[in-house]
């Protein structure tokens, strides 16, 4: 099958599934149709990924009807890896929702269309097309054809304003080089200022991810993993790839590194103070996104692998955190274990690779804040961990969660299951990875002269976690902590009094200023 057709298949499956699920005759089977559509699309994405040659990049134009913005699909390992991750995540969430009895609503069409729009962002071949599809994705998840609709207006508006940063960056890049297509952008197309502008959509989506924890919980939240975590991760990595593998300018690298760690630390503290484990899990997902941002700023080949690994992990962990889990269930425990960052957490591999990268760049001083942030996140995760208790049926519900979390833990313990075919090819798009940079085996991974036995570390840490959860002193710690209530928010500010500002003669001043400018335009030679 030609690549041009194969690249369109996932979209056709998703939109076709959305249309079918909305038909009255098929409404009862809508969930199954949605799951099948997502699974089928994931299968196509997997085929694409396996078909791609190492570091292969293919641009497929479909329509040249928009000046400077062709309808262009870019197929490379980074896009396909994230596309696959997105589709598998969507399938997981749909299944979890299907198996849940607590909500009778049928959101299948909306979910599939959101997935299709997010997939479009991932496969878009130019910055302006990415922007347009980000807007479509916001429309899809919010359903707000009427822009003034009050539901979800705050987040919609925040995304609209932030995404404008990407469009401005694209416009400035186009002014310089005449195109916004990824294949036509040189590595210096984005300066530090434009790179920061282009990062605004990433920032607002991470903030939305953290804020998702505050919303009333439904059995499954679809948007945090699909429309926020995945897109934030993909955008960050794609921008890094456009910039040649690292944020442009040393100052910007430091800024991004520090901002990521600060975010991780702050949100981890909020996760620690959360009243419920469900809220804590979502906040931890945002904290892990902060760690992933910091890893992306390091700018080495090893760090590129770390960044891709970390972001793919964030997507998966956000999906697990978006599913309402009974406290004390096996799924909750396994999800918490996967979220600890330290072993047996999935992100430990990324953390370790980031450490190696810092040592390679002789920036050992930066290890302290990195490990401090990771430690805070791990502590927050462990704070809410509970040993499973209750009936076996309740322990295993919702059904796909324990299996998915177990697979994640396995992936973190045995990186060779994921690295060679998913992570490394995607990382090669960010920057070249010379042979010998990384090695992997059954027991662990090596990076240069250093090695980490991931399997052994995961088993040891897992055992320690079990002990900790079963220890009597843990129960007294919990009792002591239960008496401490979360205090007032860290930040508090009052809006300034605007009445005084509104009373100023703005219109008259504006007209006078304009008239003065006209006179100046005539007089000035």
């Amino acid at each position: 099958m030609p690549l041009a057709v194969q690249a369109l298949l996932p979209f056709l499956l998703l939109t076709g599934g959305a249309a079918a699920a909305s038909l009255p005759a098929l409404r009862r089977r809508g969930g199954a149709i949605a799951a099948l559509a997502a699974a089928g699309a994931a299968g196509v994405a997997l085929t694409l990924l396996l078909r791609l040659a190492p570091a292969e990049r293919v641009d497929i134009p479909y329509l040249r009807a928009f000046p400077t913005v062709d309808l262009l699909i870019r197929v490379d390992a980074l896009a396909v890896a994230f596309g696959l991750s997105l589709l598998v995540t969507a399938c997981l969430l749909i299944l979890a929702r299907l198996l849940s009895d607590d909500d009778r609503r049928r959101p299948w069409s909306s979910w599939l269309l959101t997935t299709a729009a997010a997939l479009g962002v991932i496969f878009a071949g130019s910055l302006v097309l990415v922007y347009a599809l980000l807007r479509l994705c916001t429309l899809a998840w919010s359903g707000a054809l009427d822009e003034a609709a009050p539901r979800g207006r705050g987040l919609r508006t925040a995304e609209q304003i932030a995404d404008l940063g990407l469009l401005v960056a694209a416009a400035l890049a186009a002014a310089g080089v005449g195109t916004t297509a990824f294949s036509g952008l040189p590595s210096d197309a984005l300066g530090p200022g434009t790179f920061l502008l282009a990062l605004l959509p990433v920032a607002v989506r991470i903030a939305a991810l953290a804020a998702a924890a505050e919303r009333p919980r439904t059995p499954v939240l679809f948007h945090p993993a699909i429309a926020q975590a995945t897109l934030a991760g993909y955008l960050m990595l794609r921008l890094i790839a456009v910039a040649g593998g690292r944020p442009p300018g040393r100052e910007l690298q430091i800024l991004v590194f520090a901002a990521g760690l600060a975010l991780a630390a702050l949100v981890s503290i909020q996760a620690w103070r959360a009243r419920s484990s469900g809220t804590a899990r979502l906040r931890l997902a945002a904290a892990q996104a902060g760690i992933a941002i910091a890893l992306c700023a390091l700018g080495t080949s090893v760090a590129a692998v770390a960044g891709v690994w970390a972001w793919l992990g964030v997507v998966a962990l956000t999906a697990l955190a978006s599913i309402r889990q009974t406290p004390g269930s096996l799924g909750a425990l396994l999800t918490t274990a996967a979220q600890t960052i330290l072993p047996p957490g999935f992100l430990f591999v990324g953390l370790w690779l980031g450490t190696v990268s810092l040592v390679q760049r002789q920036l050992e001083g930066a290890l302290i804040p990195l490990w401090l942030a990771a430690g805070l996140a791990a502590a927050a995760a462990l704070r809410h961990a509970r040993w499973p208790a209750g009936e076996p049926r309740g322990l295993l519900s919702p059904a796909p969660v324990p299996l998915a979390a177990a697979l994640l833990l396995l992936g973190g313990a045995l990186p060779l299951a994921i690295l060679p075919w998913l992570v490394i090819p995607a990382a090669r798009i960010l920057r070249g990875i010379p042979g010998g940079t990384l090695g992997w085996g059954l027991l662990g991974i090596t990076a240069g002269p250093t090695a980490v036995p991931t399997l052994a570390a995961a088993l040891a840490a897992g055992g320690a976690l079990v002990l900790w959860l079963r220890l009597p002193m843990r129960r007294s710690f919990d009792t002591a902590w239960a008496g401490v209530h979360p205090s007032a928010p860290l930040l508090r500010f009052d809006l300034p009094d605007l009445a005084r500002w509104r009373a100023l003669p703005w219109a008259r001043t504006a007209w006078l200023a304009y008239a003065a400018l006209v006179v100046y335009a005539i007089v000035r030679q």
Binding site: L63, R64, A65, F66, P67, T68, V69, V128, Y131, A132, L133, R135, L136, L139, L145, D146, E147, A148, A149, P150, R153, T157, Q160, I161, L164, L167, V168, A170, A171, L172, A174, A175, W506, A507, R508, A510, W511, A513, Y514, L517, V518, A521, I522, R524, Q525
Partner: protein
């Protein structure tokens, strides 16, 4: 003696027109117009230019009526002061900026005629007098331009006939109201629009000379602009709007400055409604005409600076006031194409000045748009923040002088003039295309509004810092506008033919604006 007679006739006619009523006033007006016509022939040394006088004389005769009610004392004094100031201003300009070998008093008659018309427009005793003032204003302005840019009998006669356009305003019971247009007439306008669009796509026909020396501009831009205006007229189903569209669209196709300007002024005269907004519109129209005139009279770099500096505020004053459901969008569309055409006459320095003023104008629009109407200090500003800010983006788009910017501006014009104006009460709530109609009216992709905003921003980024900054502010304002305005629910009922057409136009041009770009660039 030859030059003294017309001046004496003009002064006598002016006094009669100001101080008398009925047929005596008509005689005075004819004396003024006749003297100005004679002056034109003397100034240009071309007797055929006097054909200009036919139209204003006819129009004045048709507007004669019973005496108008007297003004209150304060208003009368104000009007007298305004008249004296404007007349002296006209004479001063003619005295200080003599043209060729003609005595300044001869040239001054055209300026004073226009000044008198403007004074009657600003402070009319009744609507009939406002119409008379419009006739004189258009006649005087076109006469001044004819003196500087002679066009031959055809152009002069047409410019004079266009001065009769205020008659098309009709005896409307309510200011701004218009009679309905029949569906066959709308269909005819649509067919003509398609024909012009086809001509534009095929590359146009350049500049041609019609009989009697009338110069026509059949460039793709002009044809596309005329086509769009006719589509707006077809959508409006209102006779006054259709008349204004034909006048404005026709003016785009005229290469000679005098009838070209007179056509726009005629469209304004047909559409101008409430007094406050009308004053702004007329000021804007005259600034648009004054720029090219001063560039010739003053000459050199200073003249070019005047031309560039007056073009931006003139356009701004045409854009801001609200003119009803269809009148405002029509003026928006017409002025966009007029200014786009005028930009090509500016040099690099003039264009830079225009861009600065356009950016400042866009910021002014942003300020005005975010203020409550009672604090905006502008009579009848456009009703929604979205309309105001889209107008600002149109300003930015055109001032980039780039095809991409103009394309973005045209898309935004289509959004405001066709899509939004088609359904001011909101999109239809029922029927199969409720969602499509909502999408077409929104700023989401792939609506025309979204495509226009993106293209304007792309074009501004490649032009200047001022334009990109103002474009960013306006774009951000457009994102916030829905949150700041009251929620408008969908109107009950199903979509009509106009909703279908508007939706189709918005989504088609939003997905594939390259079609429009080909039309603007001629294939």
């Amino acid at each position: 003696m030859t030059t003294l007679a017309p001046v004496i006739a003009f002064v006598a006619g002016f006094l009669l027109a100001e101080l008398r009523e009925g047929w005596v006033r008509l005689a005075g007006l004819w004396a003024m117009i006749g003297a100005t016509g004679a002056g034109l022939a003397l100034t240009t040394s071309r007797p055929e230019e006097a054909a200009w006088a036919v139209g204003p004389m006819l129009a004045s005769a048709l507007l004669v009526s019973t005496p108008s009610p007297p003004l209150a004392f304060e208003r009368l004094m104000l009007r007298t002061a305004v008249t004296i100031v404007l007349v002296f201003l006209g004479g001063y300009v003619a005295r200080r900026l003599p043209f060729g070998d003609a005595p300044w008093a001869i040239v001054a008659m055209a300026w004073v005629l226009a000044a008198a018309g403007l004074a009657w427009l600003w402070l009319p005793r009744d609507r009939l007098e406002a119409r008379r003032g419009a006739v004189l204003a258009i006649a005087g302005g076109s006469a001044a331009l004819l003196a500087l840019f002679p066009t031959g009998a055809g152009g002069a006669a047409l410019a004079g006939l266009l001065a009769a356009a205020p008659l098309l305003g009709g005896r409307r019971p309510v200011a701004g109201a218009s009679r309905a247009q029949s569906p066959p007439a709308s269909a005819f306008l649509l067919a003509m629009a398609l024909l012009l669009a086809g001509l534009a796509l095929s590359g146009g026909a350049g500049v041609r000379t019609a009989p009697l020396g009338l110069a026509l501009s059949l460039s793709p831009n002009a044809l596309a602009g005329s086509s769009l205006l006719l589509v707006v007229a077809a959508f409006s189903m209102e006779r006054a709007v259709a008349a204004a569209a034909v006048l404005a669209g026709g003016s785009l196709l005229l290469a000679s400055p005098a009838p070209h300007w007179a056509g726009i002024a005629a469209a304004v005269a047909v559409l101008a409604g409430e007094a406050g907004a009308a004053r702004l519109l007329w000021t804007g129209v005259f600034l648009l005409g004054l720029g090219p005139a001063l560039s010739v009279l003053i000459g050199g770099p200073l003249g070019a600076r005047w031309e560039a500096a007056l073009l931006a505020p003139g356009w701004l004053l045409l854009l801001l006031p609200r003119q009803g459901r269809w009148g405002g969008p029509l003026l928006l569309a017409a002025s966009t194409f007029v200014v786009w055409g005028d930009l090509h006459h500016l040099g690099a320095a003039g264009l830079a000045r225009f861009q600065w003023l356009a950016a400042a104008g866009a910021v002014l629009i942003l300020v005005i748009g975010t203020l409550p109407p009672d604090r905006a200090r502008i009579p009848a500003v456009a009703s929604s923040m979205r309309a105001v800010m889209s107008t600002g983006l149109i300003l930015v788009g055109v001032s980039t002088a780039a095809p991409l910017g103009m394309l973005g501006a045209v898309l935004l014009v289509i959004d405001l003039a066709l899509v939004q104006a088609s359904a001011p009460m909101g999109p239809p709530a029922g029927g199969p295309m409720a969602s499509a109609a909502l999408l077409a009216r929104s700023g989401w992709p792939p609506s025309a509004a979204f495509a226009g905003r993106v293209l304007v921003l792309l074009a501004a980024a490649g032009t200047s810092v001022a334009l990109i900054l103002s474009a960013i502010l306006l774009y951000a304002g457009l994102q916030l506008a829905p949150a700041l305005q009251p929620h408008q629910p969908a109107r009950p009922g199903r979509a009509g033919l106009r909703d279908w057409l508007a939706t189709g136009v918005s989504l088609t041009t939003g997905i594939a604006p390259a079609i429009l770009l080909r039309m603007l660039q001629g294939g």
